[in-house]
């Protein structure tokens, strides 16, 4: 009983954290893109447009919940309901600060990857359940992209695991007490960043939702609150992926003077801004280029990175005697 109530409290913490962040991430994204494109961005609702997202949410809530007549009703509905589940579940293992991890699993990193891999299923359910050509194409693209970029992502993280000798998040963080892994594993960091952008379906890898080709991909038929769910899942996933990068490469919640959770949030926001910068700077990549880039460049480089890391660890141990 105690475990259940504790779990509920943690769940509420995560939901509150995620919702608050998403509210202002959407605003941040719009303002940041406006800054990059030299235009003012949202500036009408509230001071400096700060209430814009709230108004948008109210608008979307008040919209009619449309389910297309030919759609596969149950699959269509369940997809929008379940898409948040893996996105929220991954927060269980993230260390938000010193002693601020919900469950410090022995296989924390592996758990994160396993649960995150489920998210493509729900997007495909959405695409297939809509019974719409564009939705189905988008769903197929999501699967092709997410499944293939998962491989270099996991390979790039193997270097980290080899260096820290553990999959436990807190141990990976404490292994970085002297040097952050971004300096020891710069190649892995770049590969992780590219693969994560593709996993998030963000530009330049936003082919599944390429507006000019397939409207909104798997989300074409969704409206109102169901659309919000997909939108939120995307941002929830982005925060989680940025937080994982912070934990694995940027020393996690460690830092001088400021409290640990603040360092964690600052570093996570640095990663998020990096994702936003990439999204609004690069044009969309073509489908065949996307596949070529993954299989012919990212995977071989990540494999070479694992080999070099292994040799490096051996040499270091020999020198130490």
């Amino acid at each position: 009983m105690e475990n259940i109530s504790k779990g509920l409290v943690y769940f509420l913490y995560v939901v509150a954290f995620v919702l608050l962040n998403i509210m202002y991430l959407i605003y941040l994204e719009r303002k940041f893109s406006a800054f990059l494109q030299q235009r003012p961005g949202p500036n009408r609702v509230g001071p400096r447009g700060l209430m814009q997202t709230l108004v948008d949410v109210v608008k979307l809530f008040s919209k009619e919940d449309i389910i297309p007549e030919k759609a596969d009703r149950w699959v269509f509905r369940l997809a929008s309901l379940l898409v948040m589940v893996p996105a929220l579940l991954v927060y269980v293992v993230l260390p938000f600060g010193k002693n601020m991890v919900i469950a410090d699993l022995n296989l924390g990193l592996f758990y994160f990857l396993a649960v995150a891999s489920l998210s493509s299923v729900f997007v495909l359910m959405a695409g297939w359940g809509s019974r719409n050509k564009f939705s189905l194409l988008g769903g197929m693209r999501v699967v092709a992209q997410v499944i293939s970029y998962e491989i270099p992502m996991i390979f790039s993280l193997l270097g980290i695991v080899m260096l820290s000798g553990s999959l436990k998040m807190t141990e990976i963080v404490s292994a970085q007490s002297k040097v952050w892994f971004v300096f020891l594993q710069p190649v892995a960091f770049v590969i992780y960043f590219i693969a994560a952008t593709a996993e998030l379906n963000r530009g330049p890898f936003d082919l599944p939702e390429g507006e000019q080709e397939i409207i909104a991909g798997p989300f074409t038929e969704y409206s109102g609150i169901r659309y919000i769910m997909f939108y939120m899942a995307e941002y929830t996933h982005m925060i989680a992926v940025s937080a994982l990068a912070t934990t694995l490469f940027l020393g996690g919640p460690s830092g001088p003077v400021l409290p640990s959770w603040l360092w964690f949030i600052l570093k996570t926001y640095f990663m998020i801004l990096l994702f936003m910068l990439v999204r609004w700077t690069f044009p969309r990549i073509r489908l065949d280029h996307m596949m070529n880039f993954n299989w012919k460049y990212l995977i071989p480089i990540s494999l070479a990175n694992i080999l070099l890391t292994g040799i490096g660890i051996q040499i270091f141990q020999l020198m130490k005697g």
Binding site: D72, V75, L105, N106, L107, F110, Y111, L113, A114, V115, S117, L118, S120, V121, L124, M125, W128, L136, M140, V143, A144, V146, I147, L167
Partner: protein, 163 residues
């Protein structure tokens, strides 16, 4: 130790989902039921304190269902998706096979001397790694090569060999 009040409901659910996989007329619904079956098995693994197997179950099986659905959608030639998982008339023969297989598993479980209480493995993943890269290194590598050959063979069978 697994409490029977937790295990039996989950076991019943898994069997119901598995029956759903066979009996849904729409092949995509079957595949989605398969995800639930795999997640249920993963939960059983977690209850047995085999976390590594549970996460592998989710990463490799449940996560890969989306590929299965894509192939199912691409390879289905029927226009009406509701008839995409057809049945045949061999019910009785398959029942006999299933019962035979079930009997075999029951016999293995009943005669097995491995008991859950005697195993006190703390580091489940380390134990598996020791096995795969220690004692069973050669069988592991042979299996890997076999799978590679199977993949290459499948590609050649579908695309044909260029002269």
């Amino acid at each position: 130790m697994i409490s029977p009040y937790v295990f039996w409901p989950i076991a019943v659910l898994i069997v119901v989902f598995a029956i759903g996989v066979v009996h849904f007329k729409n092949i995509v619904h079957s595949a989605l039921m398969l995800i639930l079956t795999f997640v249920g098995v993963a939960v059983v693994f977690i209850l047995l304190e085999a976390e590594f197997l549970a996460f592998v179950q989710i990463l490799v099986y449940a996560g890969a269902i989306s590929i299965l659905i894509v192939f199912a959608v691409m390879l289905t030639r029927r226009i009406d998706m509701n008839e995409s998982n057809p049945f045949n008339k061999l019910r009785w023969i398959s029942l006999i096979f299933c019962l035979g297989f079930f009997g075999l598993i029951v016999r293995i479980v009943l005669t097995s001397r491995i008991s859950y209480e005697k195993l006190a493995v703390q580091d489940t993943m380390g134990a598996i790694a020791d096995g795969l890269f220690g004692n069973y290194m050669i069988p592991f590598e042979v299996a890997a090569i076999l799978l590679l050959i199977a993949i290459a063979g499948a590609i050649i069978l579908t695309k044909g060999v260029k002269d």
